[in-house]
């Protein structure tokens, strides 16, 4: 693994501290207080803020067919494609952020459950001119604690 060079999928999306506690980078409008992600540094009336790392699952779905590529740059071979989940997590800053989820089993996802931000390997690309391979990292939300399987979702959310 030492010859892997890790890179974020885009600059300015998330912090990447050595303690393994990344945060998403957002903009807060000075006048309205409205928070948006990703940050929009081109605007001159916003401040950059770091979003809370934990929130609640607002809603989610799964992606069970290979997404059209382009734009998708992940695995597109139907034989090795693995379904993934995406969802919106409601954060204390008054924002819903859409992200990939580390869990894609419908039995293990429940609206309202606690989620936290993590960085996950997305794809690996060969290095240029024999250099080290590059592992592209993106952000995702992971369940904070495993939930008991449920037969159907209730209305507790």
């Amino acid at each position: 693994m030492s010859d892997l060079m890790k890179l974020p999928v885009a600059e300015g999306l998330f912090t990447w501290p050595p303690d393994g506690r990344p945060q998403l980078i957002a903009s807060r409008h000075r006048g309205t207080g409205a928070v948006t992600f990703p940050a929009d540094p081109a605007q001159d009336d916003v401040d950059e803020i770091l979003l809370s790392r934990t929130g609640t699952l607002f809603t989610w779905t799964t992606q069970q067919f290979v997404p059209p590529s382009p734009p998708y740059t992940g695995e597109t071979d139907p034989a090795s494609f693995e379904a993934y989940a995406v969802g919106y997590v409601e954060l204390p800053e008054g924002i819903l952020v859409e992200g990939r989820l580390t869990e894609s089993d419908p039995e293990l996802l429940t609206i309202g459950q606690q989620m936290e931000l993590v960085l996950v390997p997305f794809v690996e690309r060969p290095g240029a001119d024999g250099g080290p391979s590059r592992e592209i990292l993106t952000f995702a939300f992971a369940p904070v604690a495993p939930v008991a399987p449920v037969a159907s979702q209730g209305v507790e959310a």
Partner: protein
Amino acid sequence: MSGVSIIGVGMHPFGRFPGKQAMDMGAEAIRLALKDAGVGWEQVQRAYAGSLVVSNPDAVVGKLGLTGIPVFGVFNGCATAHIAVSLAAEAIEHGKADIALAVGFDKHPRGAFSGEPAVLGLPEWYGETGMFLTTHFFGMKINRYMAMHGITPGTLAKVAAKNFRNGALNELAWRREPMSEEAILAAPYLNYPLTKFMYCAPDEGAAAVVLCRRDLASRYSDSPVHLAAAELRTRRSGAFEVSSPSLPAASVPSPTVYASAAAYEKAGIGPEDVHVAQLQDTDAGSEVIHLAENGFCADGDQEKLIADGHTEIGGRLPVNTDGGLMANGEPIGASGLRQIHEIVLQLRGRAGARQVPGPHSVGYTHLYGSPGTGAVTILTT
């Protein structure tokens, strides 16, 4: 829209037509609509043409006759057809034409709609990491709606089965095979909780409508249909909308709710007066949600209403009597004109095997499109 009537409708079948250009389908739909209206192309004074894949849909006039009239190409995502109709109607109301035409045609490849995120002003990583799929929105919206309002997967299957059953009665539809609720539920998920047979798919086709000053309509048609309202609204901050890397947590209603309320007010008609409706059924969950967003029931009432057959052709409010998007597919530029085509047939009482029994003087159409647009028309006899 007090002064505009529809005097002719025409539709090229929806489906797959290898080797046939979208524009040829559009020209056929126009000729059928003109024949239905009993007017010639040379009598059309203004036209609006919508398409996703044809970059110059106004070029369709080359297939009909170069009469020199103003022709406008239009595009607003899945609400494109509404734009064509409402602009044609406004031109008539503003005295720019007595007879105007709206047409839409498209020809999409197989598979989910896709593209570069930049077309919606979104960052590249959003597409690279597999988040830029409109189908995610539909899965996520109905997943939360089911949890909040007690809708079950069986109700989604009932909606899909009803639309395929209606499509089987429609000779212009793409999918004409009925399918059991069990088979719909047992199919693999595309995006939980939506299975493969709970989605519409992009395809090919065309539809056209001829509009006319209401006070002149009886010259051309023995059964003109009055365009009582045509209203479109875009999303407000806080609405839960498609292709959004983030959203404000303060929830506000969908643009459909505002478009619908404006249309009812304009027409002086309430949801209880509507006899037959076309609601955007991109997926079975969308039809369930749109019943409430368009004022036809309260959130959660769908579970019982659909079980009781309320939205079947013989029910209290038949919905998507021609099979909707699920049985017809979605050629984006034409889809909303197909909805109007069906409502006009129903209001005339000429919808054949799928004619709604009982009164049929008030019809309703609804489109929802990316990036957050709701569009409604109300049609009356």
